[in-house]
């Protein structure tokens, strides 16, 4: 169908959907209500396992098997994107295009920020059960901190600092570690991903059982996964030249 027909059909459908949504929203308990039954149950369960950060407890203790599924989706997407972006019959540029002129002061700031951001990222991962943070957020902070080198220096600077083969191995071991901790739960107490490590005192670094361990496993996996993902994109965009057009070469 033509563009205008498509847009008119969409407008009619969107209007209908909008009316249905408004009717549905009026049936919800209002915004800011005080009745949250799941909150009461989740907070009670988190405090019973001595985890101050209830969200980390929900993610890694009460609902840990969903988190296993989600981090497997992450692993699969990184593998899928790396497979789709693998270099085929393309010319390899001799060296990546050099960056623009970067002031030495900017470069210095970049070198200063690198250990700072890595430290902050590790702190966010390790203290995930005590303060806002956790494996997913800390992994993203770690990966983004590393890629700050691309902004303040150039791609060669990033490539020298980025241990790509280690990241590929570490990503897989992070995912395996999550499953291994789950299997340890079966061995010790008969339930997959049960909280079997001693619980410690409320608010200590080593408390809340398996939650900090799973946080670290997920943090390693997310950080290395994002680095590998961005590396596939960098390689395609900056290192590989345009192919001979695939239509003629595939005949």
């Amino acid at each position: 169908m033509s563009r205008t027909t498509r847009q008119i059909v969409f407008l009619v459908a969107a209007a209908g959907l909008g009316v249905l949504l408004v009717l549905a929203f009026r049936g919800l308990p209002g915004f800011g209500t005080t009745t949250h039954p799941y909150r009461d149950l989740a907070v009670a369960a988190a405090l019973a396992h001595r985890a101050p950060n209830v969200i980390s407890s929900v993610n890694f203790d009460q609902r840990a098997i969903d988190t296993l599924g989600e981090e497997t989706i992450l692993l699969g997407s990184v593998i899928g994107a790396a497979a789709l972006l693998r270099p085929t019959r393309e010319m390899r540029r001799a060296s990546p295009p050099g960056g623009g002129h970067v002031l030495p002061a900017t470069r210095l700031v970049g070198y200063f920020m690198l250990p700072l951001t890595l430290l902050v990222g590790t702190d966010v991962v390790v203290h995930g059960h005590l303060t806002p943070g956790g494996g997913f957020q800390g992994g993203v902070v770690l990966a983004t901190g590393l890629h700050l080198q691309y902004v303040t220096a150039d791609f060669e600077g990033l490539r020298r600092l980025r241990p790509l083969s280690w990241c590929e191995a570490a990503e897989a071991s992070g995912a395996t570690a999550f499953a291994a901790i789950g299997l340890a739960g079966i061995v010790v107490s008969g339930a997959f991903l049960a909280n079997v490590v001693p619980l410690g005192h409320f608010g200590d670094l080593l408390s809340a059982g398996t939650v900090p361990l799973l946080n670290i496993a997920v943090g390693i996996e997310v950080a290395c996964g994002v680095v590998v993902l961005l590396a596939s994109y960098f390689r395609q965009a900056l290192l590989l030249g345009p192919a001979e057009t695939e239509k003629e070469s595939s005949r």
């Binding site: 950060n53 969200i55 980390s56 966010v124 806002p132 943070g133 956790g134 997913f136 957020q137 993203v140 902070v141 990966a143 983004t144 890629h147 994002v226 993902l229 961005l230 994109y233 960098f234 395609q236 965009a237 900056l238 345009p242 192919a243």
Partner: protein, 80 residues
């Protein structure tokens, strides 16, 4: 006071989302997407969700716009 802040943050997010969806050049969309990520982060903090805001800040303001720009560079260079 918090109520006013929430309404303001929600309005900014609504306007930001519309701007991103109706910016038709992907090169410009990468930048507006980054600003939209920042507005979403502010909304999540006002809604008392610091964990979610941490995730959204790194992902929506840094990782996804970077990927969009790299993909665009690859696509445009292949057709030059």
């Amino acid at each position: 006071m918090t109520g006013v802040l929430i309404v303001l943050a929600l309005t900014l997010v609504g306007i930001g989302g519309t701007v991103v969806a109706f910016t038709f050049e992907p090169e410009r969309q990468a930048l507006t997407l980054s600003v939209f990520g920042l507005l979403l982060t502010v909304l999540f903090v006002v809604l008392q969700a610091p964990d979610v805001a941490l995730s959204q800040l790194g992902i929506g303001s840094a990782v996804v716009p970077l990927m969009v720009m790299l993909a665009l560079r690859k696509i445009r260079s292949g057709r030059s």
